[in-house]
Amino acid sequence: MSTALRAFTARLPPPSSQAFRSGPWAAGVLLASLLLLAALAPFVAPYGVDVLDLANRRGAPSQSHWFGTDELGRDLFTRVLYGARISLAIGLVSAAVSAVIGVSVGSLAGYAGRWVDGLLMRVTDAMLSVPRLPLLMISAAVLEPGVPLLILLVGAAGWMETARVVRAEVQSIKARDFVAAARAVGAAAPRVVIRHVLPGVVPTAAVATTLAVGRGILLESALSFFGVGVQPPTASWGNMLYQAQTTMSSEPWLGVFPGAFIFVTVLCCNVLGNALSSPRHG
């Protein structure tokens, strides 16, 4: 299980200060505005996404170019906004993919028990034993994926945590009386799982999925940083960093800004996941 998830699933004591409680709200608002900016990128971006300004290449941040310009004179702020569309889409959709696989595997293993449980959990353990990033890097190098396939790959690499927590939750719900009652009146297993067990799993799955969004963004950026993720000219935060790493000392803004966006976005996801997993207060 990932460090972050494990740390967060250990129940946190009630937050005491006003500042702490406002954290999740701030994170939510920040994420929402990022999503909005990304969605509206064609309208809010100060320049066109591929507009070259060859007279103004490698320009430092200024009034006309807030984040500076890259080696082709493209406005970095504009590219960060367009990159947000790709990076956020990969984070969100891959988390949804992870959630679907994780909830299916987890509830099947937890509800069916016996050899099904044994088999599925063995596979989950095996997937957790393979270092995730190198595995993804090889898959991406081998398959040379476009964005949709990349989403599937990142999602397929991130369902194990969800499967584990969902399985545990299903096992505990399965032992409750209302499940026995549903079975007693003759409900078939699929109906029991969908109508009676899965609703109880939603909070746990929501936490795991929120954390998976952040992890998906990190994985995409790492893959693109190594040149096997999103391919230029499509901008993503990760491949902007890939292009920036060689000129980090002369044009630091090219790397600092995209990375800062990755950092802040993942931070917001983790703060939200953290808040969702701790018991409600006020």
């Binding site: 997937m127 595995l135 790397g255 931070l267």
Partner: protein, 315 residues
């Protein structure tokens, strides 16, 4: 005890088989198979590819290839690197010391930081708030970006530390090597220290809510004694297992950190081999990393079993 170790080890074997299938399937999913690199090379004639294919056994049925690959791997025959023709095992082994140095130092650093901040967080509310913010931030940092920013600040701007490599070209003594180690070790340690301190804090809180702590308080044990002698001692075992179980994340982190800092370890061998599509090296890397992860989790299980009688009663 021996029976427990034996049973856990036996459980690890099917796990490793699944892992090996996964790795094998992945490499053979390449359009064109492991020789795809040569297919695009105009200097390699089709009949050469055909000859290579036969020489490497790639014309045989997949199950046969898998079994023979697995058997050679177990015997220690890991094949030859496509890049320079040297045995894969030699190439990996020569990189191991550098990785052990980096991972070892950063793990020790992360454990120390996590122990200090985790304990203080559980004991002091004010400190806890600061530590929470720092830890969540630490877990959200993109490792490669953090590395680039540290390079920028400490190597390029301030000029205090070297930006990459394991030592200067002229060789350099202990101080020189140490100065090369600081930045990559700090990057690798940061994320782990954050996660582990959160975990320690969480389990300390659970322990502090237990009746025996109340009993100790009632006997008049001071706050320092409660936290250090009672709570921390209870929380140490799960903490140690978490450190061991994170080996897989550590491997991913090492790949990124070593590449950013050109640290000549196994991780940068991986990225170099990836760029050259050197599949024999990549397969051996994945297998070794997974075997290491499985062994460490086995060690974690056995340690808990040996040290915590409660886990034994459940059987």
């Amino acid at each position: 005890m021996l029976r427990f170790v034996g049973r856990r080890a036996a459980q690890a074997i099917p796990l490793l088989l699944v892992v090996s299938l996964l790795v094998f399937a992945l490499i053979h999913a390449v359009p064109g198979g492991p020789l795809a690199l040569y297919l695009d090379n105009p200097n390699v004639r089709p009949q050469d590819i055909e000859r290579l294919r036969r020489a490497m056994g790639l014309d045989r049925p997949l199950t046969e290839q898998y079994l023979s690959w697995l058997w050679s791997f177990v015997r220690g025959d890991w094949g030859y690197s496509y890049a320079d023709g040297r045995p894969v095992m030699d190439r990996l082994l020569e990189r191991v010391p550098a990785t052990l140095e980096l991972v070892g130092v950063s793990t020790v650093a992360a454990v120390i930081v996590a122990l200090l901040t985790g304990t203080l967080s559980a004991a002091r509310r004010g400190f806890d708030r600061v530590a929470t913010v720092a830890a969540v931030a630490g877990m959200s940092l993109p490792v490669f970006w953090f590395g680039l920013v540290l390079q920028l600040v400490f190597a390029n701007q301030l000029g205090w530390l070297p930006s990459s490599g394991r030592s200067s070209f002229s060789g350099g003594g202990f101080v020189d090597q140490l100065s090369h180690l600081i930045l990559p070790a700090a990057v690798l340690a940061a994320a782990h220290a954050a996660g582990w301190s959160r975990y320690l804090r969480g389990s300390m809180h659970q322990v502090l809510a237990m009746p025996f702590v109340l009993a100790a308080r009632a006997r008049g044990v001071g706050e320092r004694g409660i936290v250090l002698r009672h709570a921390l001692r209870h929380a140490l075992l799960p903490f140690a297992t978490v450190v061991l179980l994170d080996a897989s994340i550590m491997a991913s982190g090492a790949v990124v950190t070593e590449s950013v800092f050109a640290w000549p370890g196994v991780g940068s061998l991986f990225t170099e081999s990836l760029a050259r599509r050197d599949y024999t090296v990549l397969m051996a890397f994945m297998m070794c990393a997974s075997v290491a992860v499985v062994i460490l989790s086995l060690v974690a299980d056995v340690t808990v079993h040996a040290l915590d009688p409660r886990t034994r009663e459940q059987e």
